[in-house]
Amino acid sequence: MRAADTLRFATRAATGNPLRTALMVLAMAIGVAAVVVLTALGDGARRYVVGEFGALGSNLIIVLPGRSETGGINPGSFVTSTPRDLTVGDAEALLRSPWVRRVAPLSVGNSEISAGGRLREVVVLGTSADYTAVRQTDVALGRFLPREDLRRATNVAVIGATVQRELFGNTPAVGRLVRIGDRRFRVIGVMASAGQGLGMNTDELVIVPVAAAQAMFDTNTLFRILVEARERAALEVAKDDIAEIIRNRHAGEEDVTLLTQDAVLDTFDRILGTLTLAVAGIAAISLAVAGILVMNVMLVAVTQRTAEIGLLKALGAETHTIRNAFLVEASLLSLAGGLAGLALGHGGAALLRLTWPVLPAWPPDWAVAAGLGTALFTGILFGVLPARRAARLDPVQALAKR
């Protein structure tokens, strides 16, 4: 039998039972659509996070106290044992490197803020005037911390947008006095709403001069030092300089970990990429189920068409002719299902983008190819058994069947 005839025969056979074919195609389509939509979601989330991190400023070097032995970030990077603390002096010393443009020391702790009888738990961030430049953020109202000696504990505070709303509602916050812990501060600015960053929601922060925060928490150590290199290309030189300066100040011991934005980005990229892959794997299970359905449907088709198979044999159809006809039918069903699924999946992804415009929910090419490929592969794989069964039918018994 000619290939074109086999194709036409299989098409007629598949369309001969529209309900069966439609259900089959639907099952396969749902599987493929699931892969496309879920990977679009996963990859969209990855691109969203990478994009957000990219906006943080790519010249950023984060100095953490304690030496992390492994490269990149792991949970240990954030809870390293601290042989020697970072101090405000360390932060100032870093400015000696020609490759360092700005530094922002960070001191972090939990406290309570109250104003006008309202009380709220907040994260207090102690830092310096350069923080806004380093983090590429700005105040929405008022001004940021004044440029002054890092050891001076001026009682001024800049509050996050959420804190402002919850404490002051619609009344102006700038100029008001608030109580943070057991000290009184004057609010001099409100941060622009910026969302998540470095694991802290800046909208819920209260920012005070680093010396004030250290006094509040009765410590002289720093949580981090943020360093802005002069340019992206100077990141590595700057890192070497920082390591050198810290080593000199810490009795020759290199007891800090330096993280760059790229490392953070890479890590998130990897984590979310893996997540997307995992989600795609889960979605692929539905494709395997659809494949088993193809087998089931084709086995039923063989049983329903036993007499026809007997007839074809009587008319001189060879074993491979019948096997091919059923295999082509199974492949056609899978292909139709796969294509329908692609359309459905792209529609779903478009809907996601429409619903959450910030999420770039485009399915990655590999997922589209893998979804379609898996659909075809499972369809053909699970079509083999029914096709072989049909080809092996005994013509006498097949013909006797009504």
């Binding site: 039998m1 000619r2 056979a13 007839l311 009587a314 008319l315 159809a317 006498v396 013909l399």
Partner: protein, 233 residues
């Protein structure tokens, strides 16, 4: 050279733990152009004989030579090719593919033989005309009468110009008048040179054949010939 030579054919089926001898020591010579009827009670082995002659079944012992060639030793696909080119089947229940039109059903053997579509259409058009089915070419089997269905089936059985036409109760599902029409059609084909073998329960139809084989318990118990031209009117 005889068209068909059967020599010591045995066919045994195992049903549970008992052996059923469907054919026992059957030997038969059929010349090209003959018109045979095979009669006998149910279970006498008529259908088994027909299946064997049509290469749908294999004997347990014995030899079957078709046109001088021993076909019992051929593999499944070689037998399929012999069936396709030399043997036509007509069944009691027509066995038309329900989703295909009359023309497509007739074209099936040509399609299986790999004939190009253009050539196929010519052959099918001629067959449709020969069997008076021109106006029914696009109809599906369910839209055809019983007689028309059997004519489509006969057109399909003869489209490859086989040497041998095997009919299993060809009129069994038809009323008397249509049955006679189909019988006449088969006999015309025989007159044109095709060897015709009809298995039937109908004594009237059986009596029309020039050579009548009677079977009982898997054996040929009667082989009557009547001179050419003496068949019943």
């Amino acid at each position: 050279m005889a068209l068909i030579e059967l020599d010591g054919i045995e066919r045994t089926f195992t049903l549970g733990d008992s052996q059923v001898h469907a054919l026992q020591d059957v030997s038969l010579r059929i010349e090209a152009g003959e018109y045979l009827s095979v009669m006998g009670p149910s279970g006498s082995g008529k259908s088994t004989l027909l299946n064997l002659l049509g290469l749908l079944d294999r004997p347990n012992a014995g030899h079957y030579r078709l046109e001088g060639r021993d076909v019992t030793t051929l593999d499944t696909d070689e037998q399929a090719r012999v069936r396709r080119e030399r043997i036509g089947f007509v069944f009691q229940s027509f066995h038309l593919v329900p989703r295909l039109s009359a023309a497509e059903n007739i074209a099936l053997p040509l399609m299986l033989a790999g004939m190009p579509a253009a050539e196929r259409q010519q052959r099918v058009a001629r067959a449709l005309a020969d069997f008076g089915l021109e106006t029914r070419a696009g109809h599906r089997p369910e839209e055809l009468s019983g007689g028309q269905r059997q004519r489509v089936a006969i057109a399909r059985a003869t489209i490859m110009h086989p040497a041998l036409l095997l009919a299993d109760e060809p009129t069994g599902n038809l009323d008397r008048a249509t049955g006679q029409e189909v019988t006449r059609l088969l006999e015309e084909l025989n007159t044109a040179g095709v060897t015709l073998i009809v298995v039937t329960h109908d004594p009237l139809m059986g009596a029309r054949a020039r050579r009548r084989i009677t079977m009982e318990d898997g054996r040929i118990v009667g082989d009557l010939r009547q001179p050419a031209g003496a068949e019943a009117p």
